[in-house]
Amino acid sequence: MVVFIQQFINGLAIGMAYSLIAVGFSLVFGILRLVNFAHGAVYAFGAQFALVIFVGMQISIALAILLAMVAAGLLGVIIDKTALEPLRKKKSMPIANLITTIGISHILVNLMTIYFGSQTRGFPALFSFGMIEVAGVRVDSNQLMLCLVALILMGVLTIVVQKSKIGLAIRATEQNTKAASLMGINVNFVISFVFFLAGASAAIAGGLIASHYRIVFPAMGFDAGLKAFSAAVLGGIGSLPGSIIGGLIVGVSESMAANFLGSAYRDSVAFVILILVLIIRPTGLFGKKAIMKV
């Protein structure tokens, strides 16, 4: 039982971080109906950029992660402006956009290998004030803070989308791009803003996960990206609460599988669950019935 609870908590912590990546998939999908497969690479960039400036500038790792947030947010905007916006202008087929994001993902990973090195590098712990132990179940300070920071960020994101003026513009653009532009909304700015939010939250997730496992490497975004994507779909892509629940399910299931079935099962259980959920509920757990796209 103790082992079960322990694994559950481990899973929750890592799952919260997956949620933060998942929310980026969800936001971009909501507004462009596009799965941004470059998102995992942006996450990896966030973690590595944080490490590089932590080492290079001798600043605290928390500050380094904050700067990495801004950098990864801007990277998201640059990806959209240089590769995706021109495709939209040409009204190209959705599949072309999709392939482009996959291409960008590989380009980014290559560039990171060139500039940051291909080796796995150590990453400092973000928080270290010991651990809490209750009845044999341990929660270390990193896990605790990981959950807390992720929760706060999800809260902020939800408020931005649901309560702010730009959030209203985001929701309007999601529903009807043409009508949104007729309201005086600069749709391209809204899209950039969404890419920024997605990139920034991916960088936070990158920093949190890197300081949890204490390592970073250029290709770290492939697995995490796929898992977060499945978390987003599982929860219902386009839904913020869906991303949280989806992330937690993926995190907990992989932690359980690694412990009870063996670590070889770790990476596949999330996908088995994903397939089962989609068979039963094609729109995901929190998915709306296909939003009308006029």
């Binding site: 003026k165 209203l168 513009a169 929701r171 309007a172 529903q175 009807n176 043409k178 009508a179 949104a180 532009s181 007729l182 309201m183 005086g184 909304i185 600069n186 749709v187 709306k288 939003i291 009308m292 006029v294």
Partner: protein
Amino acid sequence: MLKIEGLHTYYGYIHALKGIDIEVGNGEIVSLIGSNGAGKTTTLGSIAGLVPSSQGRITFEGKDITNVPPHKLVQMGISLSPEGREVFPALTVEENLRLGAYTKKDKDRTDASFERVYDLFPRLKERVAQLAGTLSGGEQQMLAIGRALMCEPKLLLLDEPSLGLAPTLVAQIFALIEDINRQGTTILLIEQNANMALSVASRAYVLETGSIAMSGPAKELAVDPRVKEAYLGAH
């Protein structure tokens, strides 16, 4: 106020507008009538920046606005209530209207716009918290017009505001259009219902397969035998 000169618009190889000239003076209601596929929606789309024009010029208050993106035109005072309403279905009535005032910075002015729209459409006021997608067709039309008014436009473009409405509601909508105009908004109106369109307008243009076939004072067009035959259901 608005001047269109020699405007050509293409959709791929379809030549939808073949060099049209239209002028709308300050304070006027001008109607654009024509059968299905004549290019009426395309004309409004070209003015509002939704459809790129390939040749010709559109000026608004002396400024060239050809191919200016829609969000900038809203700031300049041009607002379109599009064909088919296009309200945001998963947002409330209030949120839809708030979006109409998106470009406004001043909270008092926004509140005043809300008042004005709720005065014109009391029905919307009763339904502020309802999702726009669940409104009836007529209510959605009111919302679309109300939303277009929220930015206090100088020029209001209306694309078939009476489409799909019951006859009593059509009369109501036209009465409202005249009210809005009396309050100082210039209006360019597209209508299938040529009778109504000509009765509220001061001048009108008849569009036929991408070209202006006739134009003149609405009263004269209303009695023109060709117009009667083609658009007014002559007896």
